[in-house]
């Protein structure tokens, strides 16, 4: 029994030694980021390229969930939870229900794109935009300093109710207006 334990200790020490040499911490960190990044980006591509619009909407939900997990990766669990709740739990469902209520019988071709010249032009424009952003991002020497800001909920609440109270109230009024407006639009102002 002791022999077996010593053997296991030897193997583990060798493994952890090589892992420290290879800097396993950053490797795992980076793999989590890249996994979430590919989920978000590939789902976003699927939203745009999919022929079936319901598949597009479901891939949009996957993109939202990927972005939410990225927020949690960035030590902002509150924003991550807000993303899941609002985007994944309300906006996505709203979009899917709208698609099902404005439904044609055949859903498999229900996400048409414009003609090929339009698509080429749009690709050129988006590509140009991405190149500009990438150039600016890569040429700026960012120093990545992460500060541990503590409990985000109390900090956010303090800021929301003292320094940013006016945007908070305006956002509340905006949500109320949007709710009433959506009800009136969907039902009709003169119908009972």
């Amino acid at each position: 029994m002791n022999e077996a334990v010593n053997l296991i200790h030897g193997v583990v020490n060798w493994g952890m030694g090589t892992a420290a040499d290879l800097d396993m911490g950053t490797l795992i960190d980076a793999s989590v980021f890249y996994a979430l990044m590919w989920v978000s980006v590939l789902s976003a591509l699927g939203v745009v390229l999919c022929k079936n619009v319901v598949h597009s909407a479901l891939l949009l939900t996957a993109s939202f969930i990927g972005v939410g997990c990225l927020y949690i990766y960035m030590s902002s669990p509150f924003i991550g939870a807000v993303q899941f709740l609002v985007y994944g739990g309300a906006v996505a469902i709203l979009i899917v229900m709208a698609l099902m209520l404005t439904r044609r019988d055949d859903m498999s071709e229900s996400n048409p794109s414009r003609n090929i010249w339009c698509r080429v032009g749009a690709a050129v424009i988006s590509g140009l935009f991405f190149c500009c952003m990438a150039l600016v991002t890569l040429l700026t020497p960012f120093k990545n300093v992460t500060v541990d800001l503590g409990d985000s909920v109390t900090g956010l609440a303090d800021m929301m109710l003292t320094k940013y109270i006016i945007p908070f109230e305006v956002a509340a009024v905006l949500l109320l207006i949007a709710m009433i407006g959506a009800l009136v639009l969907a039902k009709g102002a003169h119908e009972s």
């Binding site: 980021f33 976003a44 939203v47 927020y71 979009i95 032009g121 988006s126 935009f129 991002t137 905006l174």
Partner: protein, 119 residues
């Protein structure tokens, strides 16, 4: 100005392994351009709304990334992201309601066919 041609493969691998602000900004740029492509290309109202949501998400990633990777002492980036999420949600609600009405009046949700006010 960084001399691009003197970068070796090992430098690029090393840069991409240490995840920093630039990576998140690039991710946000990719999502935004995908959304932009979709917005310019799609014919259905709801598909365009979905691409607008992608672009808004990209902007939110930017806000939260700047909050996390710069030494501010407060949570302004996250707070702006919360307000952005609230505005986006209300915009989607009103947009979907509009899409319903349009579908009921015209029977189609393709933006090219909604040209009553043209000319």
């Amino acid at each position: 100005m960084i001399d691009i041609f003197s970068l070796s493969v090992m430098d690029i691998v090393n840069w991409s392994l240490h995840v920093g602000l630039a990576h998140f900004l690039l991710l946000a740029a990719v999502l935004f351009s995908i959304g932009l492509y979709g917005l310019l290309t799609k014919k259905g109202i709801i598909s365009t709304l979905m691409c607008v949501e992608l672009m808004l998400n990209a902007a939110n990633i930017n806000l939260v990334a700047f909050n996390h990777y710069r030494p501010f002492q407060d949570f302004s980036g996250q707070l702006m992201a919360i307000f952005s999420v609230a505005v986006a949600a209300s915009e989607v609600a009103v947009g979907i309601a509009l899409a319903f009405r349009i579908y009921r009046e015209h029977g189609s949700i393709h933006v090219d066919e909604l040209n009553n006010m043209k000319g």
